[in-house]
Symmetry: C2
């Protein structure tokens, strides 16, 4: 390694409100270090590395870099490209190291979920085996909050704050119109883990507040029980507000939106199309006989910078910073984690976990966070998530009354290798 080595930062997987804050934390720390020369960005994650599609973040305007903290999604560019095992995709991993060598890159910071940590882990191992001096540190990211080894994930607090607020607000709408539009279903993300759906429980300060029912992928969905739940709430409050995770499954693990599973054929009687909310809407209208409607926030829930959690944005920045600090102190093959300190007041520091442990783990909502009936959450869940939604991240508003976001200039780094594949 020359006296100054270059660093590369990449983002991967579904964007979040906070992933750019993590990038900002890493970039600003890296640019301050006298061990690091240029800080590069890989356009669209590991794909950008493979394709040698790299741009020079160091030459961006510092204001642009600072505005990362107030910009949702993934400004460097994300991807959904998953590398296979070292045996199956050895050429890909070698290519990654070739690109690193060609550009004197000896620091690799990968912001992403468990697939990304798996990739980073394998790159790190191959570098070590082949004697290439590489420091590889992962930075966690996922609105799904399902990464192992960390108390919670950067990105989760913001989606939790936004989804809970949306449940409160749409709940007021349902309440206002309960003579006709009696049932509202809010579909939220989370295919395997119900953390996002569970966070909506924060909205319910009084029993009659929305959401009255919350369904998580962790609990097998039962058709008859659902119908009975809805009838019960309707009886109590004359209206019902439901939050549903997109990945609801029946007892056989089949998605309830699937048109091939036993559940859809036996119980529904007809092919289910569309998402979870539409499926539930159909059931409510058919079985309970009331009008139902649904809201599907989609990617708006993971990009709602205009009402992001300040705690989340600051912790995400802290993770980026900590990754660079760790790398500079010689740590490699680790992911930064968030550690909730003991004590009645919430405080959070960073730790480190092995990339391989994160890659192979998954954290779903524990049973004690879900109520006995399987249609709501417990105080333990609310106590867990409440500190994560505290504070509102600042938003810069333009003269047109709308937020200001940044976009990189993306000054390309000259390619030095033959084209990929």
């Amino acid at each position: 390694m020359s006296s100054k080595a270059n660093a590369i930062i990449a983002q991967s997987g579904g964007p979040t409100t906070a992933i750019n804050s993590s990038a900002c934390g890493a970039i600003e720390a890296a640019m301050k270090s006298d061990k690091i020369g240029r800080v590069y960005g890989a356009t669209n994650g590991i794909l950008g590395v493979l394709q040698e599609d790299i741009f020079d973040i160091s030459s961006e305007n510092p204001k642009t870099i600072s505005m990362l903290k107030r910009t949702p999604a993934a400004a460097i560019g994300s991807c959904r490209y998953k590398l296979k095992s070292l045996e199956e995709s050895k050429e890909d991993y070698e290519r990654i190291l070739d690109v690193f060598k060609a550009h004197d890159i000896h620091y690799f910071f990968y912001i992403g979920g468990n697939d990304s940590m798996d990739t980073a882990d394998k790159v790190n191992k191959l570098a070590s085996e082949t004697g290439y001096d590489l420091t590889c540190v992962g930075i966690p990211k996922t609105i799904d909050n399902d990464l192992a080894c960390t108390d919670h994930c950067p990105g989760y607090g913001s989606v939790a704050k936004y989804v809970a607020t949306c449940a409160m607000e749409a709940g007021k709408d349902t309440e206002a119109l309960y003579t006709t539009d009696t049932c509202t279903i809010l579909e939220v993300m989370g295919r395997n883990a119900g953390w996002i759906a569970a966070s909506a429980g924060l909205a319910r300060r009084e029993p009659e507040d929305a959401p009255h029912l919350i369904y998580l992928p962790e609990v097998a969905f039962e058709y008859d029980k659902f119908v009975s739940d809805v009838k019960g709430v309707l009886n109590d409050f004359k209206r019902v507000f439901i939050v549903a995770g997109e990945g609801l499954r029946d007892k056989d693990g089949e998605y309830i939106t699937s048109d091939t599973g036993s559940f859809s054929k036996d119980s529904f009687g007809h092919k289910q199309l569309g998402g979870v909310a539409e499926t539930l809407k159909d059931i409510v209208e058919r079985e309970v006989g009331i009008k139902a409607r649904f809201n599907k926030l989609g990617t708006n829930q993971r990009s709602a910078m205009h009402f992001a959690s300040l705690t989340d944005i600051e912790e995400s920045y802290m993770c980026g910073n900590a990754a660079v600090e760790a790398a500079l102190s010689g740590v490699s093959g680790k992911m930064v984690t968030l550690v909730r300190e003991d004590g009645s007041d919430y405080s959070c520091t960073t730790g480190l976990a092995n990339l391989s442990d994160v890659a192979n783990g998954e954290k779903i909502v524990p049973r004690e966070f879900i109520n006995e009936a399987g249609n709501g959450v417990t105080d333990a869940m609310l106590d867990y998530v409440r500190p994560l939604v505290q504070g509102e991240a600042p938003v810069s508003i333009n003269e047109d009354g709308l937020p200001v976001f940044m976009r990189f200039e993306r000054k390309p780094v000259d390619k030095k290798l033959p084209s990929y594949k």
Copy 2:
């Protein structure tokens, strides 16, 4: 009329972020007047009057009343009950006057859209014919912005601000992931008028910004043209972000989501289920061969108090205030309007229009606000909407990190009449 007569306030139709601000303006003005005794609320609009389901707003905590300005939806309670003509529903109109008489109500403030103004107009006329002293003033409300006689409608500015922001944010998400999730469709409300969809045009500061395409109900939807639009944008920017009004129709006026219209049968080849966004997603995936996803904000767009337009909330309050002022000065049979003053700087005052003119009118997006290709908006549209989204309404945040909303105690007014129907 005794020296002090009572007033009743009712809300009707789809809730908005601002309808409670209008109520607040009317309530606070009415409670200050020495001509008005008690201020009553009709639970769920005209239904509450018919059912003599009335509560005493005067006895609510003033803080609760003040918090109306920061609470979305319709705190008094709304309905979708439409009265027929005076001839067909004479008994209903007489019942309304009977309830008013029984409770010494001589001021009727109805906050709603054109159906509500029609109801208020007919109640007013019957009172006049039968010699009952009633002062009847309407207060406009609709996110759809389609009321005649007013420059714009309370509620519209807030949904415009929120939808444009959501388009910016989800647009960033699409941009980050354009290697795989190339097309995002944002479905917004507006069955007959495309004002909400059009407002999303504010989000596009640069050509590559979202939304690249905006479709309004005012322009007949053409299948082939849509496919060609999407291909064109994809060619330019490698991604496409579409905003679509829920009420898109073909050249025969048939909703494109209909499964009976000629359009769906001839061009789509199969039954279309679900909403507009799903229909467009299907077309994009089938005809363009890229992955598409959709966000359907649903009732969250009309209840997004956490990012409401301050201009809208203040103007809505002003409308409520102006209605009471007009009533106290002897005006009846009118609706308050918003009047945009001439001049380069935006300023807005209130005016008055005949209830009957509002009841029978509808204001759709004029052709000069829509671009020639029918897939976007013009600067004239943006100049119209920009002043309406200025400023952020204050939000009270609780120690749990979420907004605080009010709910009336609803102290009932004793019934004096036999049950309705």
